[in-house]
């Protein structure tokens, strides 16, 4: 069976590009704080979501709606409305992270399939089984801190489908618990749907030297002709004592394309591509690349060589924790 490619769409145009390029499934979100890519000019209003889902369904693709931030006390209605609207728009599933919201969805929308977001950071079989038994979760997106053998160990002890990231921005912290962005800006992916919000980012290019500041703090400086990274603290370059370097992680993108056969053997159902903030050009290119890879795997052919370096943060790629030896 062909592994499922789950692709991002930040706009209706990207959704159409993903479907046209061969995505099996697209994930997207409403234009508010209920999803973890709440960036200016991105996401879907209700009528766009309805039309996007109809477009995908007409071409045999599924649409998952990410409602994967954590509701603020007193404001739960916004998140509850998002779940109800996802169902009425015809979503194939919702991707949730918060326990309360999972409970709400299970009670009030029992016919709506529930996936667990990576933001819930469920990283062992007991956690997956708890979400499945308690809230009827059918699929879990695993955090990007697990090795392939650890993923295989999880799948051996659960019937819940697992989905793993194979390409795109690499979140190296405990997802759903990272507060780095909050420290610098007061806003976080967990509560507001924005890591390093653009409203707090400033770039200064002087003589080809690019400074990136987040909330007033300089987090990296790159010389002329050096690739630029995203302005996230986890990829920042810091000086301490007489040493300067990337404290948490180098500015690179995850690319686990060549590990797809191993991930399939480890029992993974679906392969997720990060990048709802990216353009339709990115979506189409990455989808074609990964669709070709899973089709080749299904046909017993070798993995094709990808051409994704230029699309990668810092123009560099890593297999992340999947093959990390220091762990």
């Amino acid at each position: 069976m062909v592994m499922e490619i789950v692709c991002p769409a930040g706009t209706p145009a990207s959704l159409r590009a993903a479907v046209t390029a061969g995505a099996h499934t697209i994930y997207c979100g409403f234009a508010d704080e209920t999803n973890a890519r709440n960036f200016p000019g991105l996401n879907f209003d209700r009528s766009e979501m309805h039309e996007g889902i109809a477009f995908a369904h007409a071409r045999g693709a599924k649409v998952l709606v990410a409602i994967n931030t954590f509701p603020r006390a007193g404001d739960e209605a916004l998140w509850h409305r998002a779940v109800a609207d996802a169902e009425s728009c015809g979503a194939d599933a919702v991707i949730l992270a918060d326990l309360g919201l999972l409970d709400h969805a299970a009670r009030h929308h029992p016919g709506l399939r529930r996936h667990l977001s990576v933001q819930a950071a469920a990283s062992n079989a007991d956690a997956l089984n708890f979400y499945a038994d308690t809230f009827g979760v059918k699929r879990v997106v695993l955090p990007r801190v697990l090795s392939v053998p650890e993923i295989a160990a999880i799948n051996a002890e659960t019937d819940v489908e697992t989905e793993v990231f194979v390409y795109g921005g690499l979140c190296v912290m405990a997802e759903g618990r990272c507060s780095l962005s909050s420290y610098a800006t007061g806003r976080s992916p967990n509560m507001n749907g924005v890591c390093s919000p653009a409203s707090h980012v400033e770039y200064h290019d002087e003589g080809g030297v690019l400074d990136a500041r987040l909330g007033g703090y300089t987090i990296h400086r790159v010389g002329k002709d050096q690739p630029a990274p995203y302005p996230t603290l986890c990829k920042g370059c810091f000086s301490a004592g007489d040493k300067t370097g990337h404290l948490f992680e180098d500015p690179v993108s995850l690319n686990a394309e060549q590990l797809i056969p191993q991930l399939q053997k480890a029992g993974v159902t679906a392969l997720k591509i990060e990048g709802r903030q990216r353009s339709r050009s990115y979506v189409a290119q990455v989808v074609r690349n990964f669709r070709a890879a899973v089709d080749a795997l299904d046909a017993g052919l070798p993995m094709p060589e990808g051409m994704l370096a230029r699309l990668s943060e810092g123009q560099a790629m890593t297999t992340g924790a999947y093959k990390k030896t220091w762990r």
């Binding site: 980012v201 990216r278 230029r310 699309l311």
Partner: protein
């Protein structure tokens, strides 16, 4: 698209020099009328700008001797060509071919940023909103131009396609995923 990845075509320096003495006022007026036609046909572009639909943007084609100041003006855009830095809340700078490639969905904005082909300064949030709104609008500037050309539409469209092929500059909406 013919340019190899990582190499954005530059506007020919000789032709760029010709713009040094060109009167910018009539060009600005023409571009304002042109952009208002686009606004009428693509109202979603301005809706998607949201709170930035009255923000002035400086678009700086670094291989041309002027900047383009775009004021979306809530859906009745004004375009002004200026020599010098221009004045706006956000500045997006790069070779003309990079800016056109973004409009046509041939290039990914983040990838151009990573490779340093694109520079963003000022209000990053506004710049992001503009980029996302334009990407979603699936514009085809050659189509927008030729719609006013009556019987010349077909030949002119072919002319644009040919120039695009030889120059490597994106002049029409990209086929999804073929060019980046």
């Amino acid at each position: 698209m013919s340019p190899p990845p990582g190499q954005i075509p530059q506007f020919p320096a000789v032709l760029a020099t010709a713009f040094r003495a060109a009167p910018l006022a009539p060009l600005s007026l023409s571009l304002t009328m042109f952009s208002r036609g686009i606004a009428r046909r693509h109202p979603a572009l301005f809706r998607r700008l949201g709170e930035y639909s009255h923000t002035r943007f400086v678009l700086d084609p670094t291989d041309l001797p002027f900047v383009i100041v775009l004021d979306p003006n809530g859906g009745a855009p004004r375009v002004t060509l200026m020599r010098g830095q221009g004045d706006g809340a956000a500045r997006i700078a790069g070779p003309l071919a990079a800016l056109l490639g973004l409009v046509h969905g041939a290039f990914d904005g983040d990838a151009l940023f990573f490779s340093r082909d694109l520079v963003v300064e000022g209000d990053t949030s506004a710049a992001l909103a503009l980029r996302n709104a334009i990407d979603d609008s699936e514009l085809d500037l050659s189509e927008e131009i030729t719609r006013y050309c009556g019987p010349m539409k077909g030949p002119l469209q072919k002319f644009f396609t040919r120039i695009e092929h030889y120059s490597g500059v994106s002049l029409t909406r990209a086929e999804e995923g073929l060019a980046w």
